[in-house]
Amino acid sequence: MSLIVIENVKKSYGNNAVLRGIDLEINAGEVIAIIGKSGSGKSTLLRCINGLETIDEGLISVGDVLLGRSERELRELRLRVGMIFQQFNLFPHLSVGRNVMISPIIVKGAKEQQAREIAQQNLTRVGLAEKFDSYPDQLSGGQQQRVAIARALSMQPKALLCDEITSALDPELVNEVLGVVRKLATEGMTLVMVTHEMRFAREVCDRVVFMHQGRVHEIGPPEEFFSKPKTPELQQFLGMVSV
C-alpha cells in the first residue's frame, strides 16, 4: 500500500503552469529521486506534498491524511512528513540541542527530559552528539544540514522530503550529508529527494523520476533509467549532466 499518493496534481503561478497533472505513488520505505532541469517543477512538487505550496487541482495524501487547506489539516499532514531545505534553515537563536528539541516540546507536548533524550539520539544518528550546546553559526554547512536532518527526525516522520539538500554545500562537505541520507535509506525511511547528485541517485534510490515541463516524463529503477533512457528529453538531460 502506498504511503504517499499524488493524483492529478496541477498548479500554476498566474499563466505559468508549473505542474500539469502529476500522478505518483510512493511506497513506505521507498527512496525516490526527482531530477530534471530547473523550472521543471520538481521543487514545487516536493513543496506541495507538505502544503508549503497550495495546489490548484488534484489530491495528495500521506498515510491516512489528506492534504487540506486549513492550518489544522496541514499540521496533521506535517506531523507525518519532515522536510529538509537547501539553506538548512536552522533557528539561529537556539542551540543545536534546542533546535532539535523545540518542536517535540511545543507541538507534541513532550517533557523536557524526554525531548532531550530524543534529541541526543537523533544527533548521535547524524554524528553530532557532541555539538548539543553549540549554536548553528559555529557549525560548518555540512554539520548544519545534519542538524536539520536530526531536527526533522525528532518529529518521527513517516517520510522525509529533501529539497536539494547538498546544493548549498562546499563539495567536500557533500558526502557527510549524503552518508547520513544513505544510512536513513538503509534503515527503511521513506525519502523523496530532489537532487543533482546523479551518482547518489543511482546507488541509493529505488526509483528515479524525471520531470519535464511540469509532468512526470519518465520514471523507473535507476539501472535502466540511467543506462537506457527511453525518451529523448531524458537522454538529452543525462547527456548534459554526464553521469
Partner: protein, 218 residues
C-alpha cells in the same frame, strides 16, 4: 507683585515633569501591549483582520496626534460622559503609539527570512507558535533600537496633551509663564528637562543599534 526665584520655577516644573514621565510610561506600556496584539492580527491568516489593522494603522499614522486627542476628548463627551484630560491623553497616546509600534515591529518581523517560517511550519508548529518561539525572538533583536527610539517620540508627544488642559511639563510651563512673565527662562528650563529625558534614550538607542549590528548572534 511677588517675585519668583529660579528654584520656585524649577520645583514646580519638576512636579509637572512627573506627569510627563507617568503619561509616557503608561502610553509606552499600553501602546506596546496593544501594538503586539495588532502585530499578531496584522500577520493573521485572515485577510479581513489584516485589512482592518492596516486601515487602523494608516488612519492613526496619517492624522496628527493633536486631532486624535481632540477626537477622544470631545468625541467621548458627545456620548454624555465627561472624560478627564488624564484619561483622554492616556487613551489617545496609547492608540497612537500602538499604531507606530505595530508597524515598526512588523518591519522587524518581515526582516526574518522566509525559510524560518517554512522550517517551523514543516515542524508542524501553528502560526502562534511560529511567531512566539521562532520569529519574535529573532525579530526582538532587530526591534529594540527603533523601539527605544520611538520612546523618545512618545515623550515629546505628551507635550501635545497640554492643549486639552492636562498639566504636564509644557502646560506647567505655560501656567508658570503666566504668573512670572519670564517665558524665556521658563521654557528654556522646560526644554532642558525634555532634553534630559530624551537625549539619554536616543543615545542608548544608537548604542543598541551598533551593538546588535556588531554582534549579530545569540
Amino acid at each position: 507683585m511677588s517675585s519668583f526665584t529660579i528654584w520656585d520655577i524649577v520645583r514646580n516644573l519638576l512636579l509637572a515633569l512627573r506627569w510627563t514621565v507617568a503619561l509616557s510610561l503608561l502610553s509606552f506600556l499600553l501602546g506596546g501591549t496593544l501594538g503586539l496584539v495588532l502585530l499578531f492580527m496584522r500577520n493573521s491568516r485572515y485577510r479581513i483582520l489584516r485589512d482592518i489593522i492596516r486601515v487602523y494603522i494608516e488612519v492613526f499614522q496619517g492624522t496628527p496626534l493633536l486631532m486624535q486627542l481632540f477626537l477622544v476628548f470631545f468625541g467621548i463627551a458627545l456620548f454624555g460622559t465627561e472624560v478627564s484630560a488624564w484619561l483622554a491623553a492616556g487613551v489617545a497616546l496609547t492608540l497612537w503609539s500602538a499604531s507606530f509600534l505595530a508597524e515598526i515591529w512588523r518591519g522587524c518581523v518581515d526582516a526574518i527570512p522566509r525559510g524560518q517560517w517554512e522550517a517551523s511550519a514543516c515542524l508542524a508548529m501553528n502560526r502562534f507558535q511560529q511567531m512566539r518561539y521562532i520569529v519574535l525572538p529573532q525579530a526582538l533583536r532587530v526591534a529594540i533600537p527603533p523601539t527605544v527610539g520611538f520612546g523618545v517620540q512618545i515623550i515629546k508627544g505628551t507635550a501635545v496633551t497640554s492643549i486639552i488642559g492636562f498639566v504636564e511639563l509644557s502646560k506647567a510651563g505655560t501656567i508658570i509663564t503666566n504668573a512670572t512673565f519670564q517665558p524665556f527662562i521658563v521654557f528654556g528650563l522646560v526644554g532642558l528637562m525634555y532634553f534630559v529625558l530624551c537625549w539619554p534614550l536616543s543615545k542608548y538607542s544608537q548604542f543598541l543599534e551598533r551593538k546588535f549590528n556588531v554582534a549579530h548572534r545569540h
